[in-house]
């Protein structure tokens, strides 16, 4: 038994090592200057450019137009992440509510249509989606970045499964208590779904945060750039004798990681509850 426990810990520690080591290395490297990194690659010690690098990344305007700095990108990323997460939760909860609680023609057909879109990744519909957004004049807007991706088959599916597990009698009790469709949703279903909402929120926030392809297509204005794009942008300035600012790229990568980590840490207890709790 004892041996097994030691083995368990060794395996777990190895897992932690593989997950954390690259992040830690990136952090260490981000505290050196670009020349050092270019000369000798990844750094294994703490450098002395920590404050300077992070300050530069956050405040110094970069890009071609010199209009965008780290803080702007951070703001854009947050808008995208929260817009995605909140939008997806609202839309998919309403969709699931309609599918589970209302009898309308082709309800299950609708559900399976939504469900089958799970099989189609964004890339499949990216051209038609772009065409629509472009013709609506939504290029270079937050609306254009968020709305076209807001419908979520995954979210709808999870909420549908959850709603179907809510006992029928609860709806009937609410009907006798004089709660209409809207009141039942707000007063009963939403509070009951709290843990589920937290779980979906984490998944969708991280998903939105990490979006790269769609924001790249839909925004040409640099003031709409997100952190994830910014990292790429820094490494692209390979003009003439200039060397890429590896230090800044690393710092930006570390910064880009922080918000999702914070969200996960805050919501994780709810997240786990949402996945395991069966007491309704």
């Amino acid at each position: 038994m004892k041996r097994l426990q030691i083995m368990d810990h060794v395996i777990l520690l190895a897992g932690v090592f593989f997950m954390v080591a690259p992040v830690f290395l990136a952090f260490l490297t981000s505290t050196h200057d670009a020349v050092t990194i270019y000369r000798s690659g990844m750094q294994f010690t703490l450098g002395d450019n920590f404050l300077e690098n992070y300050h530069t990344v956050l405040t110094q305007a970069g890009g071609f137009t010199k209009q965008v700095n780290g803080l702007v990108m951070l703001k854009n990323s947050l808008i995208l992440g929260f817009g995605f997460a909140i939008g997806k939760i609202v839309i998919s909860m309403l969709a699931a509510y309609a599918i589970v609680y209302f009898r309308f023609p082709f309800a299950s057909f609708c559900f399976w249509i939504i469900f089958s879109t799970l099989l189609l990744p964004l890339e499949v519909r990216i051209l038609p989606s772009y065409e629509i957004v472009q013709s609506l004049g939504l290029v270079n807007t937050y609306t254009g970045m968020i709305v076209p991706l807001i419908a979520s088959a995954t979210g709808t599916f999870f909420f549908r499964q959850f709603f179907m597990s809510v006992p029928e009698e609860l709806l009937e009790a609410a009907r006798i208590d004089g709660a209409g469709a809207w009141k039942f949703f707000i007063d009963i279903l939403v509070p009951l779904s709290k843990t589920m909402i937290a779980a979906i929120f984490i998944i969708m926030f991280v998903y939105g945060w990490n979006q790269y392809l769609w924001p790249t297509l839909i925004t040409t204005d640099e003031t709409f750039f997100t952190l994830v794009r910014g990292i790429k942008q820094i490494l692209k300035v390979w003009i003439g004798a200039q060397i890429p600012d590896y230090d800044q790229a690393m710092a930006l990568a570390i910064l880009a990681m922080l918000p999702p980590v914070i969200v996960v840490v805050i919501f994780q207890s709810w997240f786990i509850k949402g996945l395991v709790e069966s007491d309704k």
Partner: protein, 360 residues
């Protein structure tokens, strides 16, 4: 407070399944009605139609003087207690009770008064700030009742409210529901499959079978004069003994052969003869009288239940199985032959073809 009237109410589900077949009944103001029957007999459907949770296919349901066929459940002035309580898990007990009242835009202090009053009656005052999951089954049951009481409705509807409780608690809550209903004087419709619950609670019983009413009546009447073999075997525990008999020289004997002797009181050739286990008297020898019934009975199994024992055996060693009640100290070995006697007044006669009672 109100009367409830059902007028040839029918429920037909998709696929032409007729769950309720033209039920008519008048429920008096303040009456405690129990709908009883085996599962699938339509009793829950009927209750849910009164509540407004199921559509009525044809017929009319009135509460008070108003036909409520198209009225929303919330506007029918009824309150329902569900089998699994259906308490809102995320709300405190207080809010569970108050929720329906708030939706009705009742003044805050009036809500508070009613909730406190219900809590006092049901002795749940100490739990008002707890969530349902922190309560035991019995306490949840009380909260569910409280939610019905605070509404001060015209009628209570109970859908097997005690079947999730353990046996001891069930008896206790049964007494309490009865007491509460009498104290409040609210018309009540109660659904159960438990004939004991039905007998003890009801002012009047409605025995349902296959979506139709078999019999309506006070519990004692239903027990004493079951309208059909279905009611006879459903009400009373153990069930009434039913023996197919035929007429022979003006007397009755079992279809299966000898072993039974009874007077033919109604002049038919064939009957189902019914006799309750508690009306049979055990005797060591054959009775000589000819007024009543006597049977020759071979013991198979003795089943002591404490206060009394039930003896299962067969008529004449080969005929249909018969149950008889015996004193708790009775000891009979399997294979023992006994004679069972009963007076003519305790014998029930049913039509051999359709099972309806033949009244004498």
């Amino acid at each position: 407070m109100a009367t409830i009237t059902l007028d040839t109410v029918r429920k037909v589900y998709a696929g032409n399944v007729e769950a309720v077949k033209g039920v008519s009944v008048d429920i008096d103001d303040g009456e405690f009605i129990v709908l009883v029957g085996p599962s699938g007999c339509g009793k829950s459907t009927l209750l849910r139609m009164i509540a407004g949770l199921e559509d009525i296919t044809t017929g009319d349901i009135s509460i008070g003087d108003r036909i409520v066929n198209k009225v929303d459940p919330a506007d029918r002035d009824i309150a329902m207690v569900f089998q699994n309580y259906a308490l809102y898990p995320h709300m405190t007990v207080y809010n569970n009770l108050a929720y329906g009242l708030r939706n009705r835009k009742i003044a805050k202090d009036e809500i508070d008064r009613r909730v406190k009053e219900a809590a006092r009656i049901l002795e749940i005052g100490d739990y008002l700030e707890r969530k349902p999951r922190m309560l035991s089954g019995g306490q949840r049951q009380r909260v569910a009742m409280g939610r019905a009481i605070v509404r001060e409705p015209a009628a209570f509807l109970f859908d097997e409210p005690l079947s999730n409780l353990d046996a001891k608690l069930r008896v206790q809550m049964r007494v309490e529901i009865k007491r509460l209903q009498k104290a409040l004087g609210t018309t009540s419709v109660y659904v159960t499959h438990d004939q004991l619950e039905a007998m003890t609670l009801a002012d009047r019983l409605i025995v349902l079978n296959g979506g139709a009413i078999e019999q309506i009546g006070a519990p004692v009447d239903v027990y004493d004069k079951p309208a059909s073999t279905f009611v006879a075997s459903f009400i009373g525990s153990p069930a009434m003994n039913l023996v197919p008999v035929r007429s022979e020289n003006g007397r009755l004997q079992a279809e299966s052969g000898a072993g039974l002797d009874a007077p033919n009181l109604h002049g038919s050739d064939r009957y189902l003869l019914g006799i309750r286990p508690e009306h049979l008297e055990i005797s060591g020898e054959k009775a000589n009288g000819t007024d009543g019934l006597s049977m020759e009975f071979t013991v198979n199994v003795l089943e002591p239940v404490g206060a009394e024992s039930y003896i299962y055996g067969q008529l004449d060693g080969a005929g249909p199985e018969i149950v008889v009640r015996a004193p708790s100290h009775a000891r009979y070995d399997p294979g023992t032959v006994l004679y069972l006697n009963a007076t003519a007044a305790d014998i029930h006669f049913f039509d051999a073809e359709n099972g309806r009672r033949i009244e004498g």
